[in-house]
Each structure stands twice: as structure tokens, then as C-alpha cells.
Amino acid sequence: MYNGGKIMLGLLIFLAVVTFPFWYNLGTADTIPKPKIETPFIKQHGIKKCVESKDYMRREHMQLLDTWRNDAVRKGERIYVNSEGKRYLIDLQNTCLKCHSNKKDFCDKCHNYMAVKPYCWDCHFAPKENKS
């Protein structure tokens, strides 16, 4: 083999650089986030139930929010009837965030973990959080 040493050295450097992200991030893996729902409003009311089931919200909240956005702004329909027949005012800032007033511990936890950056907050106000 011509230039055997150089090739092997090159291959080693190549492997080292290719695997760099893996060993650089070794051991720093984030634990799976657990969004908190302990906010003053939820504590006060004692109802730990969102507009739909936890499982549904976890999977479909983005689709639900998109539907809500179109219903509220474009169709002018502000009432959401959930699967149990309960009615809610469609409003991100005044319905969702009234309960979930802890954006940092709720929305951001998973969004940061999943590296998704919803642009809701360019316009919509995140609730002011009390340090408690």
C-alpha cells in the first residue's frame, strides 16, 4: 500500500471528526422533560384537566392550536366544544395561558428539547412568571 501510514492517519482523523458530535455530547444527554402544570390558577381550581385529554393534548396540541387560530381569527368562531361537550373560549393568551401561566416550565421545556421554535411569542405575550 502506498503511503500506508498517511492513509491510516487520515482515516483516524476522519473517524475522529465524524464521530465528534457523538463523543462531544456524551453524557450530556438531557433527561426527557416533564412539563409542569403546577400554576397558581390550576392549584386554585384543582382541576387538572385541559380542554381535551392529556394524551390527546400531548399528541395533537399543535393541530388543535392551528384549528383554534383559524376558527378564532378567520371564522370568528370563539367557542370550542370539547369531546365531553364542555365549552371553552378560543383564545391562546386568555384561555390556554390563563391556566398554563408557566411558559418556561411548560411550553419551553419540550419545545427546547425537541428543538422546535414556534413563533407564537413574536406577537402573543407569554405570561409574566412569578418566581416561586
Binding site: F14, Q93, C123, K128, E129
Partner: protein
């Protein structure tokens, strides 16, 4: 200069490695630098049968407004309405006229009704440079202006993304800030200058103490305008300016014969802005005011 296969493979390998490693490194740096903006708390209002709603919404076939100028005498009368709107809708004050965002504002008779000004401005007729021969006080009077919510709005026809449209239910010319791409066709189409563009990020230009946490701000690069307080109508409230106008602004259903606006328009002479354009504005002005007619 050509390269042989060996050099090509070397180069390809190197660039592949760099790009994979680079993306990972950039992501890591970005994640560390990320800082989240803080906002304001959503206040909890009394929850009725519908979670989050306190009053049944106000509805109409075609919302309209009558501006009774006799009720606007001092600059404060106008300012109260303008301030209420600015505050509720988080309208920024950029401090520069060319960047101005306005939903409701004032202007002179000459600018409000330019088509009533048939003569050359330089031509002075007995001291009346407009050639209008209208009462002196009217020439100096400020007129309250806002989106006319035209029955035949030209702005909605030019919008390429349907970010603005006339609501079939109540005739309000609505804006969907989510869908606006900032092309400003609507601004060019609107003959009343009722639309404003966000040349800059408005958030830093809203005073902290004026923030209304219940209403969103806008993003940079979208067009905004008066939406007849759609969000307040849905909560059973009249528009903010109407509430603060002390009866100077009358809001009601133009399609309802017995509504307040129709009663006023039936008994008083009113004019609209640029009616010859055929946009059918829904904002009417009682020029002489109720007292004078």
C-alpha cells in the same frame, strides 16, 4: 486545472465531515445562547358557563359607525379615544412619523374630504384659500379617522394571501396577522390611508406600563389597521373608542332599521369619505353635529 479522482474523493470527504460537524456545533452554540423573552401575565377574568367568556358577543349584519363631530371639541376629546385604542391594541409609538402605526387618528377637513376641495389651493377667494366658504371652525376642526370597513373594500381584493377579508357575518374588514406577508398591496389599495406597516419590531416601542397582556402585539413586517375591536365585540363590549367617546361615536348595525346609527342617519345629514370611489364606507360623519342640524 483538473483534479484527479483521488483529490476529488479527498475533497468530498472533507467537506462532508465539516458540514456534519459544523451543523452540530452551531446547534450547540445556539442552544446555549438562547434566551427567552418575558411577557405579561394573562389576567383571570370571571369564568362563566363558557370557560373564559364573561358576556355574550355583540352581533350585527353590518357594523357601522357615526362620528358626531359636535361632541369633539377639545383635543382631549379626540385623544381619549385614540389613547384607549392604542393602549388596548398595544400600538407602538416609534416616535417617527414615517414609521407611524395608526388605527384611529385625526386629520383636517381638507385631507379628510379632499374631493370637497375643488379649487387650487393657492387661489385665495375672499380669504378662503380652499374656496369652500365653509365655517371657519370647520376648516380648523380635526376629524377622527379610522378604517372605514367598506362594504366593497378594495384592500381585500388585492391581498394575495387572503390575510385581509370582509367578514360575511358582520361586514368587518378583518386582518389575519398570521397570514400577512407584508407585501403592502392593501396599503396601496386603501384610498383612506387606514393601514400601517410595521417597518420595525413594535414590541420595544410599547411602553411597559401601557402593555395590554390580553391582546397580542404584531411582528415586524406585517400590515395592521382598525378591526372595529372584533375581540371586544366577541366579549360583548363596544369598541374601545366608542366607549371613551362620550357619545361622539355611535356604533351599530347599518342593516338594522331600528339601530342607533340608522336612527341618527335618518334624522341628520351625514357625509362619507370619498364616496365617489364606490367603496361604500361604513363610517359616517355628522359634520354640523347633532346640535346644528
Amino acid at each position: 486545472m483538473s483534479i484527479n479522482r483521488r483529490q476529488f474523493i479527498k475533497l468530498a470527504g472533507l467537506s462532508a465531515v465539516l458540514s456534519v460537524g459544523g451543523i452540530t456545533a452551531i446547534d450547540k452554540v445556539k442552544a446555549n445562547a438562547q434566551e427567552l423573552p418575558s411577557g405579561a401575565r394573562a389576567t383571570a377574568s370571571a369564568a362563566g358557563q363558557i370557560f373564559g367568556q364573561s358576556k355574550p358577543p355583540l352581533t350585527a349584519k353590518r357594523w357601522g359607525m357615526v362620528v358626531d363631530l359636535s361632541k369633539f371639541q377639545t383635543p382631549e376629546d379626540y385623544q381619549k379615544c385614540i389613547d384607549a385604542c392604542n393602549r388596548i391594541h398595544n400600538i407602538p409609538d416609534f416616535g417617527e412619523k414615517k414609521d407611524e402605526v395608526k388605527w384611529i387618528w385625526t386629520d383636517t377637513f381638507e385631507h379628510t374630504f379632499p374631493d370637497s376641495n375643488p379649487r387650487d389651493r393657492k387661489e385665495v377667494k375672499d380669504g378662503d384659500e380652499l374656496g369652500l366658504f365653509i365655517p371657519e371652525e370647520l376648516k380648523e376642526k380635526r376629524f377622527l379617522l379610522l378604517c372605514n370597513h367598506c362594504d366593497n373594500p378594495p384592500c381585500t381584493r388585492v391581498c394575495p394571501t387572503k390575510a385581509t377579508w370582509k367578514r360575511e357575518s358582520d361586514g368587518i374588514v378583518m386582518m389575519d396577522q398570521h397570514r400577512c406577508i407584508g407585501c403592502r398591496f392593501c396599503m396601496a389599495a386603501c384610498p383612506f390611508g387606514a393601514r400601517s406597516f410595521n417597518w420595525r419590531d413594535p414590541r420595544p416601542f410599547i411602553k411597559e406600563e401601557n402593555l395590554n397582556p390580553e391582546y397580542p402585539t404584531r411582528a415586524i413586517g406585517v400590515v395592521e389597521k382598525c378591526i372595529f375591536c372584533v375581540e371586544r365585540l366577541e366579549q360583548g363590549l363596544k369598541p374601545a373608542c366608542v366607549e371613551k367617546s362620550n357619545g361622539g361615536l355611535v356604533f351599530g348595525d347599518l342593516d338594522d332599521k331600528n339601530s342607533d346609527v340608522r336612527k341618527l342617519l335618518r334624522t341628520h345629514f351625514s357625509i362619507r369619505r370619498k364616496p365617489q370611489l364606490g367603496t361604500q364606507p361604513s363610517v359616517y360623519y355628522l359634520i354640523g353635529g347633532i346640535k346644528n342640524v
